[in-house]
Symmetry: C2
Subunit: 195 residues, 2 copies
């Protein structure tokens, strides 16, 4: 699975070769087709797993009891950011595949949307409760989630451009700073006393 993920991310769906995946993974070519009939199925499994891990890291936040919603939001931003740190070229890959293979866009809608909707629903409930107590501003959970996703994605999309302009930059420091800035930005967004 690791090798398959690498090959797909590096070469795209149409560029990746099942034979090479098998070879690099040290298993026989037949094996791949024994478990996954087609390249398409292998791909869906790999991407499904990725989404699964994203979902886990994000939705377990809502399982934490007795945590104020503000802290949960912070945790959400940080976990999403960390997921991106571990998968820095997943966004490029997805954007590309969505354009290159319309059927993949379908799959994404099918798989990713329910996860998002689930998170939106949970978040909305907690936000509404907290808003009643005056802890946060009254707001749309979907808007807030979109803000979180885009502000984080942004940091990773800009990174390569920055590094091409400043080739000697310290990525570690950059990511650390960006994550904190993003947290602050989102905190301001839900703070009832600002703006």
């Amino acid at each position: 699975m690791e090798v398959a993920e690498e090959e797909f991310l590096m070469k795209g769906f149409s560029g990746a070769r099942t034979v090479e995946i098998a070879e690099r993974a040290g298993v026989s070519h037949s094996m791949l087709h024994y478990y996954y009939k087609t390249k398409e199925q292998l791909f869906e499994h790999v991407m499904g797993e990725k989404l699964q891990r994203l979902k886990e890291s994000v939705t377990t936040v809502f399982m934490i009891e007795d945590m104020p919603v503000v802290e949960k939001v912070v945790e959400l931003v940080v976990r999403h950011f960390e997921f991106l740190s571990e998968n820095p070229d997943l966004p490029r890959f997805i954007i590309n595949e969505v354009i290159v293979r319309p059927e993949y866009a379908e799959m994404m809608k099918r798989e990713a949307l329910p996860i998002l909707e689930d998170a939106v629903a949970r978040l909305q409930r907690e936000l509404d409760a907290a808003a009643k107590e005056g802890e946060v501003r009254t707001m749309d959970a979907s808007t807030l989630l979109m803000d979180i996703v885009s502000v984080n994605l942004f940091s990773f999309i800009v990174a390569p451009i920055l590094s091409s302009v400043k080739p000697d930059m310290d990525f570690q420091a950059y990511y650390h700073a960006r994550c904190q800035e993003n947290v602050q930005l989102i905190l301001n967004r839900i703070n009832p006393d600002i703006k």
Copy 2:
């Protein structure tokens, strides 16, 4: 050529099919191979043309006589921005191909670097002359060009993210505003009296 460009941009090098390109272009399959022995050669021709047009739109600025260098820089920003407007998904495509096909990165270095170096040399000469007169700050032409490229690219890379957050946004207005902002940003950068 138009169809080939579309197919390559939409499906990537490995996803594009020579048969489909021929079919869609209304020419016979044989014809493609009559003129371009291989898919690789066709690709190189298409991308070469693209680069050529970028080069023309950019370097003809230096041919304009009796134009102050500050105005030439403005013209440079605007022309590069316009080129990107006409080729909005070229950046995504190039970033992707560079990662997916290392040999393409080589080709880019071979083809694009000389163009850049040529522009840098011309610009440096004019900047130096203008700096002596106190019209602009003393500065590196390569740095300035990198600033122009990255600030413009940025506007186009952010666009899809913005539109996903605000699906009803007015692109026409956005691009118009961004171009002017970028011009201003670069003008501030060469202004000898600021900072």
